[in-house]
Symmetry: C2
Subunit: 144 residues, 2 copies
DNA sequence: TCTTGACTGAGAGCGCGCTCCAAGATGTAC
DNA sequence: GTACATCTTGGAGCGCGCTCTCAGTCAAGA
């Protein structure tokens, strides 16, 4: 039983998901019913792969399944839905930008706190008894 | 009933969490038992606020509660745990760096796709009947 | 023929991180 | 006194996104 296309397993590997997840995505309408081999097993096309990779990328950046469903639904209705789809992507892009800012701030905070821990460790190493100066905390957030 | 410190409500507002969440965090050991007014109501100190803001920042960057619990536990044991705490922060910082990369890639992909949608919209506007050129897809991920 | 392994669908279960509920105590305003 | 608001607790419930189980089918290989 060969028939053309990727098995669910190999497609899962290619996209960094599990077979369970691929079936789940199909079930909830994120991907349209996939082609089948003569034995009823799924066979994924390269177009499926591209789409799945896109879904994976959106999920990895915290787009909710619901939003992805909306997008997938629009996509099935062709070019006429371009505007709405673009709007979804623009919203998500804005979300991503916000996430990046939050992550960068946290990253900076951690750089500061890590440096502070190093200082504490120095103190402990050099003069055991001394209780190490209180944390030089970051302007943004701190304690800990 | 005044007593010193912030009520759970005002602290929740200050930290961008709900009162529910503050109680939950206390319950699971992310914050040590908070001081009380004479009527038994919680009263948060400024030190609590600093710590809660830090927790909030870590959660907002996807540190799991479990990890935060580990960190909080170490923190209660003083400077001797500096090395372990630093290690947790370093790991999380690395995680953050990875997240930023993924987000930046997705952001770039979306820029591309959004531009593509604009083109499709142009086509539709200019010559209704023509079916708009197939998507000029991104090298990285695409479809949709 | 028998075993092995990959698949199938339906549906239950799970881990996370809250979020809400119910019943009760206390404090403030009228 | 009587509302009303705000808090308390323990514990149940929830939404999300999977993840797993189960019983069954099918095809290839020894």
């Amino acid at each position: 039983m060969r028939d053309a296309g990727f098995t669910i397993r190999s497609m899962a590997e290619r996209c960094g998901m599990t077979a369970h997840t691929l079936r789940y995505y199909e079930r909830v309408g994120l991907i349209q019913p996939v082609g089948r081999a003569r034995n009823g097993h799924r066979r994924y096309s390269e177009a499926d792969e591209v789409w799945l990779n896109f879904l994976h990328c959106m999920r990895a950046t915290n787009m909710p399944i619901r939003e992805m469903q909306r997008y997938a639904g629009l996509r099935e209705n062709g070019d006429a839905t371009s505007l709405q789809r673009r709007s979804i992507l623009e919203d998500h892009q804005a979300q991503i930008a916000e996430q990046i800012v939050a992550l960068q701030q946290a990253h900076a905070l951690l750089t500061h706190k890590i440096a502070n821990y190093r200082k504490i460790e120095e103190h402990i190493r050099i003069d055991q008894p001394e209780p190490a100066e209180p944390e030089l905390d970051c302007a943004l957030v701190s304690a800990g």
